[in-house]
Structure formats: C-alpha cells, structure tokens
Amino acid sequence: MKLYETKLLTIICEILAQENILDILKKHQISGYTKYEVDGDGDRGLRGQGLKTEKNIKFEIIMNENKLQDVIEEISRTLFANYAIVLHVTDIGVLRPEKF
C-alpha cells in the first residue's frame, strides 16, 4: 500500500499550557491529535512528581507541511516565554493523507 509523506508534530509541555495548545490547533482548523501525560526533566527541572499541575503533557499531531509552519510559529511566539515546552517534527508516512 502506498504511504504518503506527511509530518508528525510532537509537543511536550507542562500541563498548564494544554489549553493554549488546543486553542492554537483549533484556530488552525486542526481537529485531530493524540495526547497523553508524561513525566520529564529539562531546564525547568523534574516534572511529574507531586501535584497534578506539575505534570507534562505530550501532543502528537499528524498534519501536512504547510499548516505545520504556521502552528509552530504561533506556539513559539506565544508560549515559549511563559511555559516549559519542547517540540520536534518527524517525517512519517500515512495511508489516507486526505484525513490530515
């Protein structure tokens, strides 16, 4: 079966930035994503112990390349300063490119 090239955007952020990320996705008409809670360590210290509000959340969003640029531009502009966020992009292949 043919696999069509597209992009996977992965975002790891403190749980408090969750709503902001969802808002940005909505704004860019992206209706599909997968998310789950993770622990982690980084510049802002250990996360995932103790209070719920100190957890990390990880988003994975399959999207095509043109949307990608706008989304990461908006995230880095509006959220990087105030929240612990790490994001990265992977090349992936999917079966039904029209879905994303």
Partner: protein
C-alpha cells in the same frame, strides 16, 4: 489549658504527626507515595463531607443569620488581599506579578485548613456554624478574581504608558498583555465551575435537603471516616511539602516572616470580629482559620494560568511549606485559646466593646 499546652497537645494528634511524618519521609528521600488517584480523590471526598456537614447544620439552625458573617468575610478577605499586596510590593520589594500572586494566595482560603480545623474542633468537642462551609465556597475564588483584576488593571496602565512613550502598538509584549486582559471572565468562569466549588456547593445543597435523617445511610462514609481520610491526605501533603523544603531558601527571610505573621494577624482579627458579630466559640475559630489560611491546591492551578509571570516557587512553597504547617500547629491553638477566652471569660463583653470602640 494555656496556649503552649494546647499547641503541644495539638502537635500530638494523628493529623499533625502524619503530616510531619510525610515531611520526614520526603527528606530522607523515601519512595513513599500515596497513589495519584487516591490523592486526587481525597480532596473531593473531604469537600463533599464538609459540604454535607455544613448543609445539615444549616438545615438545623437556619441560614438567615449567615448573611452578615458572609459579607464580613468577603470584606475582610478583599481588605486583607489589598493589605498583603501593599506589604509585599512596598516592604518586600517584590515585582507586581509576584506581589499579586502572593497577596491572593494569602487572601484566598484553603479547604485542607478547613478540614483540619473541623477535625480539631471535633476533638475538642466543640461545634461550629454550618454556614461556614458556604463562606468557604464563596471565599475560594474571591481573592484570585480580585488579584487577577488588579493585575490586569496595573498591566494596562503600564501598557498605556509604554505605548505613549514608544508609539509602538504591535510588540510581542503588548500582545501578551492584551491576552492577559481578556482572561478575567475565563478565570471567573473556571473558578466557579472548578471542582472544589462545585462539589462543595453541591454537597451543601444536598446536605440541606436530606438533613440529619437522610444522612444516616451515608454517615459512616462521610462522617466517621473523615478524620482517617484527612490523615491519609496529610501524608501526601507532608511529602509534597517536604519535597519543596529546599525551595525555602529561595523564599527568603522577608517572605518567611510574612508567611507566619500575616496568618496569625488575619486569624486573630477574624476571631475577634466574628465573635463580635455573634459567632459561637467554634464558629469564630473556623472563621479566623479561614482568614488565616493560604491556598495551596487552588493557587497553583489558577495563578499559573492567570498570572504566568509570577514565580510558583514563591507562592506554593510559602503557602504549603511554611504557612500550612504553622497554621495547623500554632495558629489553630492560638485562635482556639482566644476564642475560648472571649466566649467563656467573664470579661468577654467588656473586652469586645473596648476593642470595637477603638
């Protein structure tokens, strides 16, 4: 029993001892942990129990006489929040964001404080007015809303000044400021639908409806297990407080002093005024404790969103690591002694009238 004796005997109750135990467990880096599902569930349970208890009491005693205490509590809470801000900003030299965040953390109220207070009174065989649970629900979001409102105002003013001097309207900082201005309605909404208030108000109403009789079938879960459940929750609170103890250095001497003196002051004022407006011995203690309390569960959730520029290491650490243990160990017995004196001592009326006349 004088204050010191009472502090000592209070220190030796399971609630306090398990809290201290949690701190020690965290300090020696034990892997002890209450599973997350349990420590998420316990506050919901405690609030439901508080609410049911309050609702049933309100049915017994009516709630017409709740209006004056409610408004007094609201007034004091707002006043105290402003007072905290002045102290922190002027004397403490904190920046505007940290000042408002801390001011509201100490202006807000804590449900865990309230639970411990109820259990303390139960131990002393003293009861309190049921409507205090309703006051708890109303005070919960109050200080935050005001602090966020004030922050927005302050930010807009700064903003305007800057724009006038720079003539630049589309800077990124500007964008951030505009964003924070719209947040207040969202914060208001989220506060009111926040799980703490919802379960508390819901349980008050249900308690009021079912009354003592309807409560019988669930009394064992929502009353008899109450203190044991607090004990389990206190282990986890102790562990979290213990993990944050290192951060106390960052808190600094000024804020440490603030975190001890302000609750004492607010609490005593609370006891005096509530006694003056007619609350019972136990009611005055709870009223004072509400005003003395600082929020450490709601605060991080609300403030991190609403004033993201403020440092959580300041407001969480001081509220949970300093004020909470201080309040349940020291302030509570102090307030109880004062309230006992005011209500039982012969000089009560005189003393109060003197206080009020001043």
């Amino acid at each position: 029993m004088d204050i010191l004796e009472l502090i000592q005997s209070n220190l030796l109750t399971p609630i306090i001892l398990f809290f201290l135990f949690g701190i020690i467990a965290a300090r020696i880096k034990s892997d002890l942990k209450i599973p997350e599902a349990i420590s998420e569930f316990l506050p919901i349970y405690l609030l439901a129990a508080i609410g049911l208890h309050g609702g049933i009491e309100m049915r017994n005693t009516g709630f017409e006489n709740m209006l004056i205490p409610m408004f007094v509590a609201i007034g004091l809470s707002l006043l105290f929040t402003l007072n905290h801000y002045q102290i922190l900003r002027r004397l403490g030299k904190f920046n505007i964001f940290d000042s408002y965040a801390l001011a509201s953390t100490y202006g807000a109220v804590g449900a865990v404080h309230f639970s411990v207070g109820l259990s303390f009174l139960k131990n002393q065989g003293v009861s309190s007015e049921g409507y205090l649970a309703a006051i708890l629900a109303v005070l919960e979001p109050l200080a935050f809303i005001m602090a966020i409102f004030m922050t927005n105002m302050a930010v807009s003013k700064q903003n305007k000044t800057k724009q006038q001097s720079l003539g630049d309207t589309s800077s990124e900082m500007d964008l951030g400021l505009n964003q924070s201005k719209v947040k207040i309605s969202k914060v208001l909404r989220e506060s009111i639908t926040g799980k703490a208030i919802v379960i508390l108000l819901g349980s008050i109403v249900i308690g009021y409806i079912i009354g003592e009789e309807g409560f019988q079938s669930i009394k064992i879960v929502f009353d008899d297990l109450f203190t044991g459940a607090i004990v389990i929750f206190m282990i986890e609170m102790g562990i979290i407080a213990g993990q944050r103890l290192d951060d106390i250095k960052k808190v600094g001497i000024f804020l440490t002093t603030f975190a001890v003196l302000i609750p004492t002051f607010n609490g005593i004022i609370g006891v005096l005024i509530s006694t003056a407006i007619g609350l019972s011995l136990g009611g005055a203690v709870m009223f004072g404790l509400l005003l003395a309390s600082a929020s450490f569960i709601a605060a991080p959730a609300v403030l991190r969103h609403a004033i993201p520029q403020a440092k959580p290491s300041l407001y969480i650490t001081s509220a949970l690591g300093i004020t909470f243990p201080y309040n349940i160990i020291v302030t509570l017995p102090i307030l109880f002694t004062i309230s006992s004196f005011l209500h039982n001592g012969d000089g009560t009326i005189n003393l109060l009238s003197i206080f009020i006349n001043n």
